[in-house]
């Protein structure tokens, strides 16, 4: 780890002005990604602006029936919050499937959205080639061991998987990210928040330098909407997804009236699958529909040497998630 300046912010304005968008400045919240990467010399900020004291810890109902979540709400608090458990079980399930209790107690809502990839080659500076870490240097993963890597949204420059479970659930819930920067505040649909790597894998989202996530809002779900998160991995706990599916579905009279599908563990960003949704909406509940959605979801998948199994696994994952969410309790 390299030495750095440390500043403590007490208000959002303080934090934004302390960061100032200057190169080398970073916000630190739970630190479960950033501190880790600083120890590996992958992140080498010159200034850390500590936002742990910002008053962004509320989870509240909004006037339109949705929920507003402060950026500093810890993952474990969010997972166990009554409003979330009641209205958005998919989010609670996703959060509880992630990391370990210790990490969830530290990790924050805003931080989780910005979690960096677990790509082995990104996390190890001994590899010169990593376009995410060192733009233009190449990708060591494409010809390396790429079992955990992405099959969707990849490019010839980067195949790193987005690791978050929470963000996958929020993607299916059509969350909105609210930010504040030096030029004011704005709201960004989560679907537009993340970027696929393309030829700029170092750019993972649309945040401007020094822009701070303050809240996330979730819209109200129509009555009768059900949601579910399924995560598949080698062991039963404490492992990133090899495939996950967040499904938010409303069924009436045996037909799927609305469906939101997002996939994790298989893509370079939390992966909203409108292709799968199209195969679901208006179709009858049943294996045939689910299979069609799963096939649509992996259309265009680009498997590599070690991760070809994910093409099948993520389909199984989605089919099962859909079956569970459409089965009356």
């Amino acid at each position: 780890m390299q030495s750095f300046q440390y500043q403590d912010a007490k208000t959002v304005d303080d934090a934004v002005s302390a960061n100032g968008g200057i190169a080398g400045a970073k916000f630190v919240a739970g630190g479960t990604t950033l501190i880790d990467l600083m120890k590996l010399n992958v992140e080498t900020p010159q200034t850390l602006v500590d936002i742990n004291r910002l008053p962004l810890t509320g989870v509240e109902s909004t006037s339109d029936g949705g929920v507003q979540i402060g950026a500093m709400v810890r993952n474990s608090d969010l997972a166990n919050h009554e409003l979330i458990q009641k209205r958005y079980p998919v989010l609670s399930q996703a959060l509880r499937s992630g990391a370990s209790p210790q990490l969830r107690n530290m990790a924050t809502t805003g931080g989780n959205l910005l979690q960096r990839t677990r790509c082995y080659y990104f996390r190890d500076t001994a590899y010169a080639a990593c376009n995410k870490r060192n733009p233009g240097s190449g990708c060591a993963a494409i010809d390396g061991f790429n079992r955990i890597h992405a099959i969707l949204g990849t490019s010839e420059h980067c195949i790193a998987t987005h690791p978050s479970d929470m963000a996958v659930a929020m993607m299916a819930l059509e969350a909105t990210v609210h930010t504040q920067g030096s030029s004011g505040s704005r709201s960004i649909a989560l679907d537009e928040f993340y970027l696929v790597p393309g030829n700029t894998p170092q750019k993972e989202n649309v945040l401007a330098p020094g822009e701070l996530i303050t809240h996330v809002t979730l819209p109200a779900l129509a009555d009768g909407t059900r949601s579910y998160y399924l995560k598949l991995r080698d062991r039963a706990s404490y492992e990133f997804a090899l495939s996950s599916a967040a499904v938010v579905v409303r069924v009436s009279d045996g037909r799927i009236r609305s469906a939101r599908v997002a996939l994790g563990g298989v893509a370079t960003k939390p992966w909203r699958s409108r292709e799968a949704e199209k195969e679901l909406e208006g179709h009858p509940v049943g294996e045939k529909t689910f299979q069609a959605a799963a096939s649509a979801a992996v259309r265009g998948a680009r498997p590599l040497h070690d991760n070809a199994f994910k093409v099948k696994l993520v389909q199984l994952c989605l089919v099962r998630a859909l079956r569970v969410v459409t089965t009356e309790a």
Binding site: M1, Q2, A126, F145, L232, D234, E239, F309, L313, V319
Partner: protein
């Protein structure tokens, strides 16, 4: 003599120190003026160091020095293979020359006032390499040309195989596994320049071997080096022998004239402190149609490093496990650009049994015979490899009791036929085994005037309960209660003890503790009868007894006697002392001494999502006399957990391009979590093996792990029809199944 403490479920006497954080581990000893050594390690798999530029690092705050092959004081190789109790993990001392043999090899050590300063400076050291293409994977290596490191033959295995009615021929692969004890290796070296004395605070499974070996490698006398290692946060074999960080700390301390602490980081645990080597094992079995084994042919290739010939003795159980007239076994080494492998819990037998027991399961399928019945049909009544009787073998009872308790007779052998709702059940079983042995130990027992006893030995407790067993035996032999017995281990100043390895420490120390305690007790009783004013003056010491710390005549209650320390006080003695030695006995040549057992398991497959979960586990074990029901049970349970890790999760994955283990951390190198482990039922038969020692204890630290992986692959086959011949069992394998819900 009371035997009430032997075999009881006694909690570890060091437990309170450990759970309260008061037990100092290797890196935790508070040393005044300690400095921090952070290694710089190679980022190539093979080649030479052209130059090391440490000029920038040396100017950084707090930096005291940078040691590398260009400026290190000479170190030497150990006389390994020529002398007893001399063995290093890697025989090449660090910084011996400019050659890089593997990724992660130490190339420099930066020493600074604080850990953070040393780390920052370490990142500023520039190393230029001349890189050559490394050879990392056994599959990419040319076929071995060197003569085999192991060869065994009886009968005519090849011709018997050729003529047999039913046969199997498959190759089984076990990947590299990394030990990953919770406590990482660490050394604090304190160099006293005026006295020319070196103290090394360590975490080692072998204080005496560590002492002997580092003295040779540092060219120092035994008297001038002191090893202290009171607690070990597990080792699983990775701490059996000294690794380079110990020598680096010593060299660093001599270089800067200050105490130096070197802690091996988790990533470096994957390169610099050994691993279980990759093995590729072809097993051919042949049997008559009624299931009698006619030929067993076991051919092993196994990787080792470029610098050492480490042999993973996979073929150890092959000649003795089953009755078979024609057996051959051969093993070859393949040298790769990886760190030197080292024994990992159940070395040799664990990967060996995975292959042999998998082959037995496949043979049972080929014979259309129950796999347990096949084992019983080929039950070895004696060790056909050594032509010796077994000292005490109760494997048949393990099979029978296990089968009955598990309900094995209800197993429908047809693949995918057993169900629990939507889940497919798979039942598997396997034999487990581990040899019993003992070596040399010296133990000192003192009965002290303060009313306590003290027992000491340069053995060590690696988390298995050794402290407690020392106290139990002293209590048993002297009649002094356990809470009055202080056990001193893990210090090279104490009488030399054995390495905690091979499951032999208990069997080795027991006779020495027992004899020393017995002698001390006898001396005390002699004092009791030979001292004026003693209530027992003139009595025959044979009529006396010590119970709960009180000396009394055997025919009267302990209340009528006196506390043993009163006897010492009457004589104005500080203590009575005794020391005893135990050694290997002739019985090890007259008998084949082995523990045996049987695992039975049930897995559930959710075919819709290719998910495997273990739902039941039963292990029935004949491990000789169980000295402590609680720690003994935990040892077997822990072994099974580790075997489940081997079966389902563990694999160190190397980047073939440079030999870098890419999953070198606790998040990416998978071991079981609590959620992966079912209730594990362990039944210990508890037959004393008195051919090995008077208590009949064999040592059970490793056997629990052996056989587990093949029980799991057998169960997986039973449920899914997929035979996994390369561990671990992965989702990718389960996706191949055609069995549906």
């Amino acid at each position: 003599m009371s035997t009430s403490v032997i075999g009881q479920p006694i909690s570890r006497i060091d437990g309170k120190l450990k759970v309260s954080g008061a037990a100092p581990y290797g890196s935790e000893h508070a040393i005044e003026g300690v400095t921090y050594g952070v290694p710089v390690t190679s980022t190539i798999g093979s080649g030479r160091i052209v130059s090391i530029d440490s000029s920038a690092a040396e100017k950084m705050p707090g930096v005291l020095g940078v040691v590398h092959h260009g400026n290190v004081e000479p170190m030497y190789r150990p006389a390994q293979g020529f002398e007893r109790m001399i063995r290093a993990g890697e025989t090449r001392p660090p910084f011996e020359d400019d050659v890089v043999y593997y990724y992660g090899q130490y190339v420099a050590l930066v020493i600074a006032e604080t850990f953070e300063e040393a780390q920052a400076a370490g990142a500023a050291v520039r190393v230029n390499y001349q890189t050559t293409k490394p050879l990392v994977l056994l599959g990419q290596a040319p076929a071995p040309k060197d003569p085999p490191v192991f060869k065994y033959s009886r009968g005519g295995a090849e011709s018997a195989y050729a003529q047999a009615a039913v046969k199997t021929d498959h190759t089984y692969i076990t990947p590299v596994e990394t030990h990953n004890p919770m406590e990482m290796h660490a050394t604090i070296a304190v160099w006293d320049k005026t006295k020319e004395k070196l103290t090394l605070y360590e975490t080692t499974q072998g204080v005496v071997n560590h002492h002997n070996t580092v003295c040779q490698m540092l060219d120092m006398s035994l008297e001038s080096v002191h090893i202290i290692s009171p607690f070990v946060g597990a080792g699983y074999g990775s701490k059996l022998f000294p690794w380079p960080q110990s020598l680096l700390a010593a060299a660093g301390a001599r270089h800067v004239g200050r105490p130096v602490k070197v802690t091996v980081t988790r990533p470096l645990m994957f390169t610099t402190v050994g691993h279980r080597p990759y093995t590729q094992q072809r097993v051919r079995l042949a049997a008559s149609r009624d299931g009698k084994l006619e030929a067993t042919i076991h051919e092993v290739q196994q990787e080792t490093s470029m610098v050492d010939d480490y042999v993973e003795r996979c073929t150890d159980p092959t000649p003795m496990l089953y009755s078979c007239p024609n057996v051959s076994a051969v093993q070859h080494l393949v040298h790769l650009n990886v760190g030197t492998p080292t024994p990992m819990r159940g070395p040799g037998t664990t990967p060996g049994l995975y292959a042999i027991e998998s082959a037995m399961d496949e043979l049972a399928v080929a014979l259309n015979m129950d796999p347990l019945e096949l084992r019983l049909k080929n039950y070895a009544e004696q060790d056909e490899g050594k032509n010796l009787p077994f000292s005490s073998k109760h494997l048949r009872e393990c099979y029978q009791q296990g089968a009955e308790r598990f309900g094995w007779s209800k197993r429908n052998p047809q693949v995918g036929s057993m169900r629990n709702g939507d889940k497919i059940l798979g039942w598997g079983m396997a034999t487990c085994t581990w040899p019993g042995s003992r070596s040399t130990a010296d133990v000192r027992v003192r009965l002290l005037v303060d009313g306590t006893a003290r027992v000491s030995c340069a053995c060590q407790d690696i988390g298995t309960g050794t402290y407690t067993i020392f106290a139990q035996v002293v209590a048993d032999k002297t009649g002094i209660p356990i809470d009055k017995i202080k056990v001193l281990l893990g210090d090279s100043d104490l009488p030399p003890g054995p390495t905690s390895g091979g499951s032999a420490a208990t069997a080795t120390v027991l006779p020495a503790i027992s004899n020393a305690a017995e002698q001390a007790r006898e001396t005390l009783l002699k004092v009791a009868v030979g001292t004026t004013q003693s209530p027992f003056q003139g009595a025959d010491p044979k009529t006396l007894q010590i119970t709960n710390g009180r000396v009394h005549t055997q025919d009267k209650s302990p209340d009528t006697g006196v506390a043993f320390e009163e006897v010492l006080k009457l004589r104005r003695l500080s203590s009575v002392d005794a020391q005893a030695r135990s050694e290997e006995t002739e019985n090890s040549k007259k008998y084949s001494i082995h523990s045996f057992g049987a695992h039975f398991c049930e897995i559930e497959i959710d075919p819709g999502i290719a998910r495997l979960r273990i739902t039941r586990w039963l292990t029935v074990l004949d491990g000789g006399r169980i000295m402590n029901a609680k720690t003994g049970h935990s040892q077997i349970m822990g072994g099974v957990v580790m075997g489940i890790g081997m079966g389902l999760f563990e694999e160190t994955v190397y980047d073939a391009r440079n030999g870098h283990p890419v999953n070198s951390n606790y998040a990416d190198y998978l071991v079981p979590t609590n959620k992966d482990i079912p209730n594990i039922e362990v039944i210990l038969l508890d037959y004393p093996d008195i051919k090995l020692n008077e208590y009949g204890a064999r040592g059970i630290g490793e056997i629990g792990l052996t056989g587990v992986a093949s029980a799991l692959t057998s169960a997986t086959y039973h449920a899914t029809g997929v035979r996994v011949r390369e561990l671990p069992i992965r989702i990718e394998d389960l996706l191949q199944s055609t069995v549906t819900a």
